[in-house]
Symmetry: D2
Subunit: 474 residues, 4 copies
């Protein structure tokens, strides 16, 4: 039987992420970690010959997965299998001194997580830059704002995008906090007491701490735990995965809204060059990428549940009941979010708005949306507030009903109000209110500008990240 | 970069499941489905030349995934890519007539699910057979039953296993109900009205229904939906995945308990031949397989959350926001449960109980566990109930405290009671009660027999399934 | 501080469910259970005076929650508190003989669950009856079927409702299976061996089983576990709650679709008498009840995660780590689903369709939806298939674009095709195809009839349930 | 029927939290918010008479829930009901000017969340202070560290506590970040454009922003959103609830471990004064509070799923599909975590360790735990590494087996090694190694000190919080 690929890595994630989590890449990371430990141990006085280190260095990229798997089938111990393979390749027995399996795997897996977080930060910034551009482009395009999916008040398409953009900015703040405080487990030994490292150095605790510091500096992760057991607390994974789901939320909401807008033909996610719609229905522009973004979010929330199943469930100094879960969940969560970004960046690059349809919708709803303003004007003209409300409601509801029953095809509320003596406003006056109201989007435009300015700071701070464009998506 | 494999399929699931979900296998299932549709359409009068059908048949196993992926990169439409590939291979254009993409994919994916459910049923039965054997083996091995993880009353190890076995039996009932009622979507067209199939047959609804019936008969799934949209309701996937998590629960609880017992050295999951414990600590028999079983359960509950994210979220006649989720979740949920069974069957095959340690534990706790009985005898001997309770509690608590503070090393509660005039029972009488109580496991043994009889019926009904033994696990 | 009410019970659930789960109601259920046990014990020969039983009977409805809570604050043992209270009220000490706390609480809680399941079945049937009525009412109302939220093919509104109705029927099948197979824990003692019941009857296992049978017959639950520990397996709760979420899915999808339709003004959930829309926007008919239904579904899926957190996590013979979870989750899950039904039944009772708007939408999209048919006719008239497809696609895409840019306001695809020599069909011919296609909803109508027939069987079997109408909702 | 209470608030949460979420309390918060808006509007020039403000102030604490509910039953609009009630009480109509419902409810609910977060921070600090005290108390108490629930290496009980304490410290960092960056929605109007506030001030955007700033200052929440719709993004709720689950993880893991230790009688959660164990088994000290802590964690993870069901699901400018979910989830999540802290603080206050049992366990395992050291000494004494490993493993495994089969009752590994010529170490030498190893807990003690120092900083910064002691728990 042929190998079954990881569907997220194969179809959706970009190499920036998947290379971090490939089996070969991980083996190399581990070997580099072992070498870093050896070098540090040698520096601190352990008797490790330089030629052994050189020999390991020389073979570290010779990764034969099948050979390793073969060893694991016998030992039923994955780390032991990888130690033996590396030592046999190098012809030495100097790695893994004073280390327990988790001294290797925890740190290397955290390195994978940490590097993935940096990739995700870059993609988040690229996405915000695109959202800034789109919200600026449509900053002044007035649309019918909807609540409960029903016309409510005018807003602008730019603000609608900035709204979900600001949501993403908030999640970026969490991500940055996580990156800044992400602690690596370090070299802590079988139960977290560093006993075996101390033994290596004849009980010299200072050397054990120096060794750990050197190794963490190799990893490039600034923080390190002090009190851990065999493993770092799995709530850190839950924290990580929750933030990934948090990041996915703004894009997911915008995609949800684009799917709704596509239903009204006020906007669409666009078509790639050469893309075919439904063969039977060539006109059909399906929001398949937006739907996919929503799908990725569902996946991530499943990963949050998995991570939650591990958090707070540590027995004593730890065990490996988390192992199979983390093997699956950690890469998949990053693949899913990376795939989401690739897809969403494509949507942002190809999406389109249809001003003519938007304007028709505005015209259809505008008289309803202006009823508050009309009422206030009527009050100014001397009608009692309650009386005005009653009359306007009466006509508004009747107009809605006539539109729905087909009595009328266009919204004629203004005519009705102009023709009712209880409202002392002429058609011309009412029409003027309408035209004025059409552009009344409050602080929408300045809100868009505020969002743009915030993202602008990020673009300055991370210019390369901001310029990223997605690969071709399926 | 090298391909990233599906970690569940690669490391844990057996070929019985993974072959159903391989990319190649799926392509062949699709092609067989198309051919079945063509044949049925021809039977019902459509003008499809036999040589075309023969040509498709001839090439159906020629699966070139890369070529198909290349086509998809252009069309961004996976089904279209696969149609073109198959037609080009066959040199004809007769497949997919009157079909929409989902007429293909829904049915084929449901076939994958259905066949996987049958595999899972077989594995469940194999597992129950092993649990029966183990519960029979240790039917009479008295252990200290624990509640709140603290000694409570005697039970037998066999009953403990039968308890989780009966839990699994209940889940099997749900699985059987699902298999018996699992409905396939059928050929329903783009929005579920079968319009295009009707058009093919000039509006002859009877022929459209006959076509669907013939095709479902090809699939071998007894039930078919009547009212669906583009897709079958995703609550069916939630139902499926929930039942998989349900099935995992009994094994998961037994593994949790085995991990606890390993901590007391009353039982262990055993060692495979050649397996190494921790290299640093050769005596250590870690419950790594039991821990893994618990890990699989966590994964499955994450899949339940994913499935829940799709259920009840259908817009109109449906869309593909579920697509990426189902691509991931459906195979992975089956891989996880299959991997759980492979692991758990291995545990059942290798596990061991340690009667000497068990007996020592029983002796340690027995005087405490017998306090109720002692009190009843004291009452019979004329002491007031409350008075007896007070005295016994006083000594019991003191004994516990002395054991915990190291005042005593062995439980001497019987001596204390024998020496207290307020309890008119001699040491000999008390000891006799103890010896009697040691074996007092109530209906535990007959409960085990009842479980064995229930499983026996399954073994008779599914003899091959019951005999299954797991492959080698990592 | 005032008491904080359970928000689901207070605002949404009906008395049929909330009375089962009230604190007072539960106390009474427990007392009835104790009395049933006493009577059975007396029948089987235990020395329990009739006057004691009478005394307990006489006071069983005297429930003083505060007094019980006061006792619990001292003993920190809820069952002990309730035993003492009941005994003090009755002036006897005969309840709870040979019983452990869980012999009481497990069975009573399962009785609450079981009775709630029966209520839910009735509500499901009432809902199906209403869905049948609505799908019959709109069986022939042709609407524009949508996939990806975009116009796809005609269907009928009745079929759309029947589609979600059939989904609910499937979930009802699961519920019925659960009800038919729901096993109660029974009187199993502290670790499931029935030891204390056996002691009461001097080791007579037969009497212990007879006692259990009598007590289960009091409960009215047909099945009983054989092998359990202190508790019944919590996967049964997961099974129960998963099925509740399953049941919620069909209603949730229909509500999602109604929210979409409200956005197009093709349908609405209607207004209750006296209900106010937004005060500022009197025309606004918000789908607030449909939104609430979707909200209940989200809640239920959270309960599924809670239930999943308990399943497969039993330690040895059990403990109370599940206690606080079940206290919350079990009633709340039933309250949520009951509230969902009350809300959804209200929606079904008040919803409305707007045929004029629907027809306008149909007219707008029909030329696009008919392109397949037009192509087939063109082929019949001698044009090559690929050529026809190319021409039609060209015009369809141009028409879409012109509509979106405002070049045209009405769909003029027919004119374009009629004016193109490459398509040998006149405007009259094309128009005739369109009119024919307008009603071409395939097997939609017969599908609706099939759904109605299935529900009809339920209405006959459960006539009272089918007639249920919801209470007033907030 | 009697009211059904919120079980979390009634049984577990403390008044500090439940008072924030009581129905009455919320009404008062809303009224204070309305008054704050009125005052600010008056300051900014709106014509609101001081006597109206005074009238509202005078009646703001007159909360009649039933009267409000009665109004809601008619209007089906909760905010409208509360407006009417407050206005009728005050005899004025000046509140809610230019406001939409969400301008009220979002801000008030966020205030409830924010204040609850502050309470949770205090409880977290109190908990850390207790964990510091306990880890200091048992800083030097050597215990057998366990991985896979099996003896691994010595550690100290203090470090075990500090390990979970440091986990909690990490979660506190997240909480602090959330508190520092928590943004309130502000007065944004129906679709987020502040249109109605602008209208009130005749289009003066500056006044609208000033009004918002004044109102936010009333709330005391430092950050405010710029771009939102009708609602703030629900990913903020997911973020909040995820962090609550994160906080629960360290306590949950420690409780899990205490439950395990209770099984070995090395520690227990202790007993409250007057507390009764099982009546039948007076010696039994059940870890019911620890189990409850684990239960609360399960609940919180269910709330995370609920919150995840809302995040990324915003349609356009928002709707109320989140309403029923948030009504339930937000207070319940805080009640659950608060209940967890009350319970866990009680555990920390009453827990006990049993040095005699701990020492017996250490003695039992120490020879095994020292095998690495023995091997290293044997190597120093001239034996080949592989040879030494082989011999030691042979004896270690044999000793384990003999203990399990009852051949021996005490670990005699040292005798076996001393008696084997292949290992050139005398019994005295081996025993000396053992005694040395007994105290070899590496950096455990200094790790505890490090934890204490970190918590000490918090105690200085939040002295009142640190001193908090829990109320009596059930």
């Amino acid at each position: 039987m042929n190998m079954i690929p990881n569907v997220l890595a194969e179809r959706y994630a970009s190499p920036a992420i998947s290379s971090i989590w490939s089996a070969e890449g991980r083996i190399v990371l581990e070997r580099e970690f072992w070498i870093a430990v050896m070098k540090a141990q040698k520096d601190l006085g352990l008797d490790i010959p330089q030629e052994a280190i050189d020999a390991y260095e020389a073979v570290k990229d010779q990764v034969n997965l099948e050979a390793i798997m073969e060893r694991e089938r016998i030992t039923r111990h994955d780390v032991k299998a990888r130690i033996e393979e590396f030592c046999d390749l190098a012809g030495h027995q100097h790695i893994h001194k004073g280390m327990t399996s988790r001294d290797l795997t925890e740190n290397v897996e955290q390195l994978q997580v940490y590097r993935s977080l940096l990739v995700i930060r870059d993609k988040t910034i690229a996405t915000l830059a695109q959202m800034k551009a789109r919200s600026a482009q449509w900053r002044d395009l007035v649309i019918t704002g909807r609540t409960h999916n029903v016309a409510a008040q005018p807003t602008t398409f730019g603000k609608r995008i900035a709204m979900n953009g600001e949501e993403l900015l908030g999640a970026l703040g969490m991500l940055n906090h996580l990156i800044d405080t992400y602690p690596v487990r370090g070299l802590k030994g079988a139960v977290g007491t560093q006993m075996d490292q101390l033994s290596l150095f004849d009980g010299d605790a200072d050397k054990a701490l120096q060794l750990e510091a050197k190794v963490c500096s190799h990893l490039g992760i600034p923080e390190v735990y002090t009190n851990v057991g065999q493993v770092y607390p799995r709530s850190l994974d839950m924290r990580t995965v929750s933030i990934l789901a948090d990041i996915a939320s703004g894009p997911s909401s915008l995609c949800r809204t684009l799917r709704l807008m596509a239903g009204h033909e006020t906007a669409s996610e666009g078509f790639a060059k050469g893309q075919t719609g439904s063969s039977a229905m060539p006109h059909k522009m399906n929001s398949r990428s937006c739907e996919r973004v929503n799908g990725f979010h569902v996946i991530l929330k499943g990963h949050v549940t998995m991570a939650g199943g591990l958090a707070g469930d540590q027995w004593n100094e730890g065990d490996v009941s988390c192992s199979v879960v983390r093997r699956l969940m950690l890469p998949d969560a990053f693949f899913a979010l990376d795939g989401l970004f690739e897809t969403f960046l494509t949507v942002l690059g190809q999406m389109d708005a249809y001003p003519a349809v938007i304007e028709a919708e505005n015209n259809h709803y505008l008289p309803f949306l202006m009823t508050t303003t009309i009422m206030m004007e009527a009050v100014k003209a001397g009608v009692g507030r309650e009386a005005a409300h009653k009359v306007i409601k009466e006509h508004a509801v009747a107009t809605v009903n006539d539109l729905r029953t087909g009595e009328i095809r266009e919204n004629d509320l203004l005519n009705r109000l102009a023709g009712d003596d209880r409202i002392p406003l002429s058609y011309e006056q009412l029409y003027a209110l309408l035209e004025e109201g059409r552009e009344n989007t409050g602080t929408a435009r300045s809100q868009v500008d505020h969002f743009g300015a915030e993202v602008g700071k990020l673009e300055s701070a991370y210019p390369d990240a901001a310029k990223y464009t997605p690969g071709a998506i399926l």
